[in-house]
């Protein structure tokens, strides 16, 4: 079982970047006005941000990282680890992390690599960064996490298009012997890989002319095999089946009570899923911040984006005991219990 603790790693900076272009689901003409209302009410997404063509996930992550490095006057030569977690990279090859390493002016001694994870990416990323820092004696690391889902979803697919938004985030981690421990419970089940998938364009189903053909999947759902396909009911039932036991297992391991956390921050899947999880855990709404109404489901970026967007002031003012829970594509899920001690947290950056 992947339940473990990392010690001596501090989150010292946290920043999020979103595109300035705002898209409202009240303007989503593909469905009726009544359905638009229902979408906003149930899925909970009123607005989200879309990049202009040519802007990438790494551009947003880079802007977020620059804000932290500037704000804290970080000596860049000391950053010896950069992890870029995304399913929307700049190119098929090479890896995006190297491009960002160069753009940020990080030293050649900086270990840089990409990780392909979506919704669960931030929780996995924190554990990866902390674990490697301790194993290799790295003093400072950048964790860049984000996705551009707007380019992968078909406008005429009402099951995906109104849901997703774009965002990129950066987290600066530092080794500090006094830092409180972070506890993790990470899990996965690849048998559910088809629940959220872009079928064509990879090596299994290589790109052909047919990849560009639209097909009617169901009423209101038309897409090509190059667009993301989302099995809503399967993802929904997976989330309701796995997330609560994953959290309970972590709390049993740490001996903590759910009531003692200041906030529980979930991946922003959709409002119905998040509210159902909240009720299953009997948590009051004020302890479970939601940013999905403003930014939609931003895949791997949703937890750090929610921290910056919804918990900006508490984060600045006092140490916060947090439970972060991420779940989705893969299928892959996990939770972490950690204390954030007033990390540097600039306002949301727009690009």
């Amino acid at each position: 079982m992947a339940i473990f603790t990392t010690a001596g790693i501090k989150v010292s900076g946290l920043a999020a970047c979103v595109p300035s272009k705002e898209v409202s689901n009240y303007d989503y003409k593909w469905v009726s006005a009544k359905e638009r209302e229902q979408l906003v009410k149930t899925i909970g997404v009123e607005k989200r941000r879309h990049v202009e063509k040519g802007t990438t996930t790494s551009d947003m992550c880079q802007a977020a990282a620059e804000a932290i490095l500037h704000g804290l006057s970080v000596d860049r030569s000391q950053i010896n680890l950069l992890i870029f977690i995304s399913q929307t990279r700049d190119y098929f090859i090479p890896q995006t992390s190297g491009i960002v390493q160069d753009k940020l002016g990080l030293p050649k001694s900086c270990i840089s690599f990409d990780v392909s994870l979506g919704c669960s990416g931030y929780v996995y990323g924190l554990s990866l960064a902390a674990g490697l820092m301790n194993a290799f004696g790295i003093s400072k690391a950048l964790l860049l996490v984000g996705d551009i889902s707007s380019l992968n979803s078909a406008y005429r697919d009402k099951s995906t298009y109104p849901l997703f938004g774009d965002a990129g985030t950066a987290t600066l981690l530092e080794r500090e012997p006094e830092a409180p421990p972070m506890h993790f419970n990470l899990e996965g089940d690849g048998s559910g890989y088809q629940a959220i998938i872009i079928p064509d364009g990879g090596m299994r189903n290589i790109l052909t002319k047919k990849s560009f053909n639209y097909k009617k999947i169901a009423p209101g759902i038309y897409r090509t095999p190059l667009h993301v396909a989302l099995n809503g009911i399967e993802v929904f039932n997976f989330s309701l089946r796995e997330v609560v036991p994953n959290i309970r297992q972590l709390l049993k391991y740490t001996g903590e009570e759910l009531n003692n956390f200041d906030y529980v921050v979930f991946h922003q899947a959709n409002k119905l899923i998040n509210e159902t999880l909240r009720k299953m855990l009997k948590l009051p709404p004020e302890k479970v911040p939601l940013s999905i109404g403003k930014f939609g489901n931003t895949s791997s970026a949703s937890i750090p984006l929610t921290l910056v967007s919804e918990l900006h002031n508490p984060l600045k003012n006092r140490p916060l005991k947090l439970l972060l829970s991420a779940f989705g594509i893969g299928l892959s899920w996990g939770a972490t219990s950690l204390i954030l001690q007033q990390p540097y947290c600039p306002d949301i950056i727009e690009i």
Binding site: K34, E35, Q38, L39, T42, I43, S159, A218, G220, G232, I233, E234, F236, N237, L240, R241, L272, I273, E275, T276, K279, M280
Partner: protein, 80 residues
């Protein structure tokens, strides 16, 4: 603890504003009662999970026509 279809109907009426109270009967056909779509299906699944701790899947809903059909599935899986 046992569950009743009257209680199930009450819970559906609470969840879906567009349903006129008293109209939904055990033999009512779901798709005829209101504008049935995938979001409504998710709302129903969420309600059943929260209220009865029972998981409905896509097949359950495709194979169910009436309120009673869905209730029978819930009852067969309900653990009290």
């Amino acid at each position: 603890m046992s569950i009743t279809i009257e209680d199930f109907i009450k819970k559906i009426e609470d969840e879906f504003d567009e349903l006129e109270p008293g109209k939904l009967k055990p033999d009512s056909v779901f798709r005829e009662m209101f504008d049935w779509n995938s979001i409504n299906a998710l709302v129903l699944i969420a309600m059943v999970k929260t209220e009865y701790d029972v998981t409905l899947n896509a097949d359950d809903l495709t194979q169910s026509k009436t309120v009673k059909d869905v209730f029978d599935i819930i009852q067969s899986r309900f653990q009290g």
